[in-house]
């Protein structure tokens, strides 16, 4: 089907947190890949493991098991200095809260240049400075802002600084973890437009993590829906919205309020009850491709029922 090269491949990734005797399976056997130049959306409600997935990929957490492949190299587990450098400079992250993720005691210039300095991307100070200014202009700020501190900026501007910081190392992959949910409504559209522009101009690959489905649909080409640490459905954004198959996806879609009063006041909601699957030892869920590019987590019995209903 798709013969583009994946830039990121995640295979059977697990991340378990241990609390005394109990195990919290935050990410449980997650597999997906992201092609070069595309935007891949990861959605789900809070606690479903979407952020943990992002953080495990970028090595903020060590994976419990499974593999992460980036640019053809395996990057989970122990890496030597050179391999680490290849990962840290080519993969960058934008966090949800632009207030908490900027050091209040560093100037904007120091913040943006830090990653480039550590990775020794530019040969001279002048080149570094010129690139910081270039980045600031790219994200809609000016060179004058370089000497200021984060508290002098509004939330939207701070998120722009975070984006500039992520882009200065010329990353191949940007992981954006809820980049707009901490911003005001009128500012969200500004940041979305900026990310859209950068994606087109720089050909960025983005792993977009969010809970707002309308934003994810607008922004992503393919989407994976997560629930309780697992991916339950994965498809291109149009397929997913036109033909949701997994009951959790249906319930999530029906829960988004639509700004259309005549429709919204009459819409039906579906509640998701995980016990309807009745999974047992013979009937374990696995990812089944029900149509080209549309994967759903279901057991063999459910798949048979789905095919039966289709006829």
């Amino acid at each position: 089907m798709d013969n583009r090269t994946p830039i990121l491949e995640v295979k059977h990734l697990c991340k378990h947190f241990y609390q005394g005797k109990s195990v919290m399976k935050a990410v449980d056997d997650v597999s997906f890949h992201v092609y070069k130049g595309e935007t891949f959306g990861l959605v789900g409600e809070s606690g479903c493991g979407k952020t943990t997935t992002g953080r495990t990929i970028i090595r903020l957490y060590g994976a419990t098991s499974g593999e992460v492949w980036f640019n053809g190299n395996r990057i989970d587990g122990k890496l030597n200095k050179e391999e680490t450098k290849a990962v840290t400079s080519k993969m960058q992250m934008i966090f949800q809260d632009p207030v908490a993720s900027l050091n209040p005691r560093m100037t904007v210039e120091e913040i943006i240049s830090e990653g480039a300095k550590i990775n020794k991307i530019f040969a001279t100070e002048e080149e570094l400075k010129a690139n910081v200014h270039k980045m600031l202009e790219l994200v809609g700020l000016t060179a004058e802002h370089a000497t200021r501190y984060p508290h002098e900026f509004s939330g939207g501007q701070r998120q722009r600084i975070c984006i500039a910081r992520a882009l200065i190392t010329k990353p191949d992959l940007v992981i954006a973890d809820e980049p707009i949910s901490a911003l005001d409504v009128s500012i969200q559209a500004q940041v979305l437009n900026l990310m859209n522009k950068l994606r087109k101009e720089l050909g960025l690959t983005i792993l977009f993590i969010a809970h707002d489905l309308s934003v994810v649909k607008y922004f992503s080409e393919r989407i994976a829906v997560m629930n309780r640490g697992r991916i339950v459905e994965m498809a291109s954004s149009d397929l997913l919205y036109d033909n949701p198959v997994h009951p959790y996806t249906k319930s999530l879609l029906s829960a988004i309020p639509i700004p259309n009063p005549l429709l919204e006041k009459k819409r039906e909601r579906f509640d998701y009850d995980p016990s309807i699957h009745q999974y047992d030892e013979q009937n374990q869920p696995k990812m089944i491709e029900i149509e080209p590019g549309h994967l759903v987590s279901m057991s063999d019995r459910e798949y048979a029922a789905y095919l039966g209903a289709k006829k």
Binding site: D184, S186, Y241, N260, L262, K265
Partner: protein
Amino acid sequence: MERILEVKDLHIHFNAFAGAVKAIRGVSFHLNKGETLAIVGESGSGKSVTTKAVTRILPDNAVIDNGEITYKGMDLLAMTEKEFNNIRGNEIGLIFQDPLSALDPVMKIGKQITETLILKQKMPKKEAEARALELMKAVGIPNAEQRFHEYPFQFSGGMRQRIVIAIALASNPQLLICDEPTTALDVTIQSQILELIKKIQKERNLSVIFITHDLGVVANMADRVDVMYAGKIVEEGTVEDIFYDPKHPYTWSLLASMPNLDTKGGDELMVIPGTPPNMLYPPKGDAFAPRNHYAMKIDFDREPPMFKVSDTHYAATWLLHPDAPKVEMPAHLKHRIELQLKEAEKYNG
């Protein structure tokens, strides 16, 4: 229709270190019995301050300069604190955004509900406990008897918000003020809480003021809508007026700036340039003018009054003045609204 609450020409400023922050600059609205009024606006537009003034829980550095708040014919601002204690809670209930900080972390859930009943309604303890259990069941908490003896941290976010709603309902208020009650919750939980509030409203014929910035939630809940910007109401109307026939440029950009499920990837979103004004120095003229694509010379000079569009629909923009040039809403918003109307028609058959 009977008016339960009326706010007239309210002005509030905060004494801050840097000077007077003019948070509310002439807000007037009313609420009819049994209806839901949504107040929409971004953070800092003054929507929470307005409702805090109604319940008189403004911080100490807030000063009400001018205005009138009438509840069932009583002047709320003229009352003594002691008199008002009979109104707050008993007549007007409140639900806040963050259910974790609204609950006492070291007090059992059951006690937090009975406390209200014992203090406000002078109910004997046994009776209050039975009533609290009833309330917990009414807001949909399973195993109420067992959960009665648990602490807030043992509850999930949605369940905590249900407890807060139960406390607000404990003394049978007539007016319920919900200040972003679902912003901290997930969409699936949000839809459950919204359903619950609607159900309770119907059962008890409550009047509701619903504060939010999510237009989808407004579409779901509201009968009428007030759009606030920089301490003023810029547009007021029924929910249909606001969503299908908006008149104020700020409302236009609010409606057009967020992607919906029909927005194609790669379409440019309509943005509101710049940031909201600093209310230490509210701008002369229309506060939205510097961010407005359609601003005229007069917008920077004089504040627009409320122009009447229809009996239910008012908007504060000079564009509605008879001498103003005819300006239509942006084409893609018009297109979006047409699509929405068609979709609604299809769905409702």
